[in-house]
């Protein structure tokens, strides 16, 4: 359950990609899982837009929350 690797390759064109969390059947996004969180962060460590990452709205909200928690615990930087 812990090891879920997301591919960063663009299989689908922008705006038509499927949610990575739905396909791997993750219900809750853990804030301790830095590896997966970093896939959805920008070069400036900002949270990527849903349009580019293809995450569904439900998971995007969870992701934002867990990223903010991880930032508070200094697992992920605020800015770069």
């Amino acid at each position: 359950m812990a090891k879920q690797i997301f591919s960063t390759k663009q299989k689908h064109p922008l705006g038509k990609r499927r949610c990575a969390f739905c396909t791997s059947q993750i219900e809750e996004i853990d804030y301790k899982d830095v590896k997966t969180l970093k896939h959805f962060l920008n070069g400036f460590q900002k949270i990527k837009n849903r349009y580019y990452s293809g995450v569904c709205l439900q998971h995007q909200k969870q992701l934002a929350r867990s990223v903010k928690r991880a930032r508070h615990m200094a697992l992920v930087p605020f800015t770069n």
């Binding site: 812990a2 301790k32 899982d33 590896k35 930032r71 508070h72 615990m73 200094a74 930087p77 605020f78």
Partner: protein, 215 residues
């Protein structure tokens, strides 16, 4: 009237549900301890915290101490921290005290208290492997090149003469050899460098030893 009664009963149910929820909940507590604590001090601290939790009526189901880990940014001028994770079942009323207790504690740099959903299983995640940035490695190379250029300028007169000879031959031959000329031009400087490589290395070493080059 009926609506009001319904809403009242609904509110009562909600209140009951809240009370039921308020009794016990699964929590996750994450702490960052100071990095300069000794091992004995860490164990003492953890015992204190677990005691505090159990006094507040909590059942600790899991305790995990991570290794010393780099922080993403400095907190109170510390660049490292010891992460500790607790999973416990506790009373909601005791959480405020816990929060204040941890906030006042000087050995705890930061803490985070979150609720867990039912069926949560703690799992440890692998640390990411940090790779050094490759493009920076290429920067030291340009320094020796600059030195080589100066010496090439001195030794150029020889190839220049050869080129003139080549051009004369080109005039005699048809249009095709322009490509050959280009190839020959490329080859000539290489030969010049090959001859002087051993000398160049000595000179370069002398130069590098003498001064600190700012690249």
């Amino acid at each position: 009237m009926a609506k009001a009664a319904k809403s009242a009963s609904g509110a009562a149910k909600k209140a009951e549900a809240r009370v039921v929820e308020a009794e016990n909940k699964m929590y996750e507590l994450m702490l960052i301890l100071k990095p300069d604590l000794l091992e004995s001090a860490i164990t003492k601290k953890l015992k204190e915290i677990s005691k505090f939790l159990e006094d507040g009526g909590a059942k600790i189901t899991m305790e995990d101490v991570w290794d010393k880990r780099k922080l993403a940014y400095n907190i109170k001028q510390y660049s490292e921290g010891i992460y500790v994770v607790y999973n416990f079942e506790g009373l909601t009323s005791a959480m405020r005290e816990l929060d204040e207790h941890l906030r006042i504690d000087n050995d705890v740099i930061r803490h985070l208290l979150t609720t867990l959903k039912e069926g949560y299983q703690y799992s440890k995640f692998d640390d990411e492997v940090e790779e050094e940035e490759k493009p920076r490695k290429s920067t030291p190379k340009p320094a020796p090149k600059r030195v080589e250029k100066k010496e090439e300028v001195v030794k150029k007169p020889e190839p220049v003469i050869e080129e003139e000879e080549v051009e004369e031959t080109v005039e005699e031959v048809t249009e095709e050899p322009t490509e050959e000329v280009a190839e020959e031009k490329v080859e000539e400087p290489k030969e010049v460098i090959k001859v002087d490589k051993s000398d160049l290395d000595d000179k370069l070493n002398k130069l590098l030893e003498g001064d600190d080059l700012n690249i």
